[in-house]
């Protein structure tokens, strides 16, 4: 049962081989058994999940059901869910019970999916290793000394360890794709604006995008069908016709042109990852695809640009956490300024404070033009690189990360080294393009390697097709961490 795809689980539920309550309990038991080891979940609420499962079971007896009705989904703890504690991985919100549902949560509720719990994450999604969470770091199910990646590390670990049927994540600079790669699962960041950000706690508004994390491209397509769609409460949500993202899954790949950016295969890429990626490209050639060498000449500027723009937006987005209306307030203070300073000093972790300071600095009078404005200009150049590239190819491929999962605490003392683990993913957010990561083998240390697939705007269906066809002829995505009992 635990190895089933979402379609198989749905069929089992509809044919009454298992009830949603039973399935939910099965996962809850696994969480009870394994979460103390992996720390993938921040909040589990058995009773609230079972209320939804019971409702789903009623719905499953009726004729009108959805593919995901009754299926337990883990939600990244960045999505507000009514009556659920929603912490965003921070002490600042450790006591915050959301009074409303995010759009993504509403969408899953509307099809009768079960909210299985809230997954661990880097604090306010700021991190690449899940070590900045106030609720402790998540461990990689493949190797408990390794990081699961971040910021959606809890969701990635939960999917990898079969602590949920599927999960949600958010991706600002790689936060879905990088942990998906490091935990050996599939993850998709859609085109900016495809999934509403309403109720998703903001890190960097112009880059944040929610997406699905699961064990296969087919599962991702089913999940994206639920998550995508126009929402008038998000002004950056795009008004487009509804798509069925499963529609092209089975198309053959004959004639597919794959662009390989030379910058993604240059110095900094570890040999074992390079080897795995080259092997997957060879597999694609067998499926009828051809390869084009391309260049993204400004991609080396992605990290500096990102670390100006994202902190700038974050410094403003996180101003609302002031201890006045909700969230953490310092117990003792002498006046208003003291209350602000202590609440924020005590409520935020180191990485969050570092980024608030960077962001405040780059927006300051006299520095704005040199940093923020300049970064916006380069952002446009980076996006333009992709426009040129897509004139020559249909999808772009490369490694998701330069290495497989690194060890816990390995990069804690050097934020820049940590930032470099997102070197291949960040440009995609800056350009607003869709990107995904799928399992593509293992490195020399036995840890998973992720293949990144970047598509043109709104080309998610094609990307899912490309990933699905690969998963029909390989079994990397079905591999399970050895010491996780299934």
């Amino acid at each position: 049962m635990l190895n089933s795809s979402l379609l198989q689980l749905g069929a089992a539920l509809r044919s009454k081989k298992i009830s949603s309550v039973e399935l939910t309990q099965l996962y809850l038991q696994r969480i009870t058994a394994l979460n103390s080891k992996l720390n993938a979940y921040i909040t589990v609420n058995e009773e609230m999940s079972l209320v939804q499962a019971r409702a789903a079971d009623v719905q499953l007896t009726q004729s009108k059901t959805h593919a995901l009705t009754g299926i337990p989904i883990a939600q990244k703890d960045i999505f507000c869910a009514r009556d659920w504690r929603t912490t965003c991985g921070s002490k600042m919100l450790s006591n915050f019970i959301a009074p409303y549902d995010a759009h993504v949560i509403e969408q899953f509720n509307s099809v009768g999916a079960v909210n299985l719990g809230k997954t661990n994450m880097d604090e306010f999604a700021m991190g690449s290793s899940n070590e900045t969470s106030y609720f402790g770091h998540v461990k990689n199910p493949w190797n408990n000394n390794a990081v699961p990646g971040g910021s959606s590390g809890g969701s990635a670990a939960a999917v990898s360890a079969h602590l949920c049927a599927a999960a949600t994540g958010t991706d600002t600079g790689g936060s879905i794709r990088q942990p998906a790669a490091l935990c050996g699962i599939s993850g998709l960041k859609p085109t900016y604006g495809v999934v509403s950000r309403y109720g998703m706690i903001a890190f960097a508004s112009s880059l944040d995008q929610a997406g699905p994390m699961a064990r296969s491209a087919e599962d991702l397509a089913l999940l994206l069908n639920v998550m995508a769609g126009f929402d008038e409460r998000d002004s950056t949500s795009l008004q487009r016709d509804t798509e069925d993202y499963t529609r092209d899954l089975n198309k053959p790949l004959n004639g597919l042109r794959i662009g390989l950016p030379k910058e993604f295969f240059a110095a900094g890429l570890s040999a074992d990852v390079a080897q795995a990626i080259e092997a997957s490209i060879a597999e694609y050639k067998k499926l009828g695809a051809s390869v084009v060498d391309i260049s993204l000449p400004n991609s080396h500027l992605s990290i500096p640009v990102y670390y100006v723009l994202a902190p700038a937006e974050a410094s403003s987005n996180l101003s609302r956490y002031d201890g006045v209306r909700y969230g953490y307030r310092t117990p003792e203070y002498t006046n208003l300024a003291d209350m602000y300073e202590k609440s924020r000093a005590q409520g935020f972790g180191e990485e969050v404070k570092r980024r608030i300071m960077i962001g405040t600095y780059v927006l300051s009078h006299g520095y704005y033009d040199a940093y923020y404005l300049q970064a916006q200009k380069i952002r446009r150049l980076i996006a333009q690189d992709f426009v040129e590239a897509f004139k020559q190819c249909d999808v772009i491929m490369g490694p998701t990360t330069p290495t497989t999962a690194f060890n816990l605490a390995e990069k804690n003392d050097d934020p820049v080294q940590m930032y470099l683990s997102d070197t291949y993913t960040i440009a995609v957010n800056l350009a607003g393009l869709p990107g995904m990561s799928i399992p593509a083998g293992f490195g020399s240390n036995g840890l998973p390697v992720g293949l990144q697939i970047i598509g043109n705007y709104f080309d998610e269906a094609r990307m899912l097709n490309v990933a699905h066809q690969y998963q029909q002829v390989t079994d990397w995505h079905t591999s399970t961490p050895q010491h996780i009992e299934v």
Binding site: F79, C80, T86, C88, L93, F96, A98, P99, Y100, A102, R197, Y198, G199, M200, I201, A202, A204, S205, S206, E232, R233, D234, S235, T236, A312, E313, S315, S316, S319, R320, D322, V324, R325, Y326, L336, Y340, T360, L363, S364, H365, Y368, Y372
Partner: protein, 482 residues
């Protein structure tokens, strides 16, 4: 030494939308604290702003009314600062790309001790949309501050003028004209007590012809009287300071209306760095010509256009036209009255600016509170125009209409106020008078025309005031001539 006062105003007008600029919460005034603050207004984690189309349309109306450039693309920016009544820690405003560009407003500066009334054109720099903050209540809680977020997110249009005003009187005239205009075009209720129209005044002084002096900004003046007092005090303080060898430091000041003085709140040194940047939650605001034309189609006729029409088509004086267009309500009252007596524009104007205004002033009412409707007034004026009643009798009718209401024709009938226009009856009266006063008749006929007034008095008295004066004069002249 000669000093020139230089004033520019920034006016915050609260736009009359029923919901807030970025959320669906109500903007109604006076609710229990924090009742009208939704998740977006409270800045809960994850909420997002959505721009209210009605607020944009009101800004466009204003732009059209002052002949300003309406930006095809404008941008909302975040103004970052911490304050408990600012829930997000930033205010969404417009910074370098406002919705409304340069425009102008013609003001009428009333008579002062210095001289005659005059007109002046004040240039507008820009107007931009922004959200209001909540309120901090310092008085009601012992040792604590209460926060009311009902006002948070209320739409404001901040209208910025060039430093074109040279006296407190000009500043007040400008503020009053703006106040009248925003109400005229229905974008703001103009209620100054409730804070719907608030002025900040930038004041500096200089020797005529010199460079602009250092300005100080007086914040939050919510009455025309305070605006006048604050500017007068501030300008005099700056002149005294400079004449005593001091210098002016750029500062934000508050006006203490109890003491009638301004005092510094913060200097330039501790001014905030607001770290403006474009709000990534909102797309640039695009306004195409089609939208502008659609809004233009809903605008009422503007004061300047009405004034020109009153002069050219109705034959009124420029002064009358100005006065009748001092507010949209006044102009509407005038035009509705005129509908009853279309050929009597001057008569309507005289009554509105004379007896009606005097009566309103006496009771401290404005035209919207006039107990006589335009229909009633028009019907009464119709009876003056067609000779049914004299002006003197009309004043009697007006008094009754004002205090008791009713139909003018019925009042004329019941009170017997109809003019005597029966020529035969008037001739009989005149014959009697001539017969009874032979000495005066002789005097008149010998050339003493002054005596004519004596006969008019007698004739009007004999008719109990009902005689049509023109007709009676004509009969008297004819009969006296013999």
């Amino acid at each position: 030494m000669q000093w020139e006062i230089v004033i520019g105003l920034e006016v915050h007008t609260q736009l009359s939308t029923s919901s807030k600029i970025f959320s669906g919460a109500s903007t109604a005034f006076g609710a229990e604290p924090n009742i009208q603050a939704c998740a977006v207004d409270l800045a809960l984690p994850g909420v997002l702003p959505v721009l209210n189309r009605g607020a944009v349309e009101r800004a466009i109306r204003f732009g059209l009314a002052v002949g300003a450039h309406i930006a095809p693309r404008s941008v909302f920016s975040r103004k970052n600062y911490f304050y408990p009544d600012l829930p997000k820690g930033y205010q969404i405003s417009q910074f370098d790309l406002p919705i409304i560009g340069q425009g102008s407003l013609t003001i009428q500066v009333p008579t002062t001790t210095a001289g005659q009334p005059y007109k002046k054109v004040v240039r507008l720099t820009r107007a931009h949309l922004e959200e209001d903050a909540g309120k901090s209540l310092h008085e009601d809680f012992h040792g604590m501050t209460g926060i009311d977020l009902n006002r948070a997110g209320t739409p404001l249009l901040e209208i910025v003028s060039e430093p074109d005003m040279r006296s407190a009187a000009e500043a007040v005239a400008y503020a009053k004209m703006l106040h009248s205009l925003v109400r005229w075009i229905d974008i703001c209720d103009g209620n100054m007590q409730e804070g719907s129209f608030r002025c900040d005044a930038n004041v500096s002084v200089r020797h005529p012809g010199a460079e602009l002096g250092t300005r100080r900004e007086i914040k939050n003046l919510n009455s025309f009287r305070f605006l006048q007092q604050a500017i007068e005090y501030e300008a005099q303080w700056q002149i005294d300071t400079l004449e005593n060898g001091g210098t002016i430091q750029q500062a934000t000041v508050l006006f203490d209306s109890d003491k009638g003085v301004t005092r510094a709140m913060r200097s330039k040194e501790d001014a905030h760095d607001y770290r403006y940047f474009p709000d990534p939650d909102l797309l640039p605001l695009a306004i195409d010509n089609e939208w502008i034309e659609q809004v233009r189609g809903t605008l009422p006729e503007l004061p300047l256009s009405k004034q020109a029409r009153y002069v050219a088509d109705l034959g009124l004086s420029a002064y009358d036209a100005d006065t009748l267009t001092s507010s949209r309500e006044m102009a509407d009252f005038f035009e509705t009255t005129l509908n009853e007596v279309p050929k009597e524009a001057k008569l309507c104007a005289n009554w509105l600016m004379g007896d009606v205004s005097a009566a309103l002033n006496r009771e401290d009412r404005d035209i919207t509170q006039c107990p006589i409707s335009p229909g009633q007034l028009g019907n009464m004026l119709k009876r003056i125009a067609d000779g049914t009643i004299s002006n003197v009798a009309a004043k009697e009718v007006f008094k009754i209409l004002w205090s008791e209401g009713g139909n003018p024709d019925a009042i004329i009938e019941i009170k017997g106020l109809k003019q005597m226009s029966d020529v035969g009856a008037m001739e009989a009266l005149v014959d009697e008078i001539i017969a009874a006063n032979p000495a005066q008749v002789a005097e008149y006929r010998s050339g003493k025309e002054k005596v004519f007034g004596f006969f008019v008095g007698l004739a009007m008295k004999a008719s109990k005031g009902k005689a049509n004066p023109a007709q009676m004069n004509e009969i008297l002249k004819r009969k006296l001539a013999g």
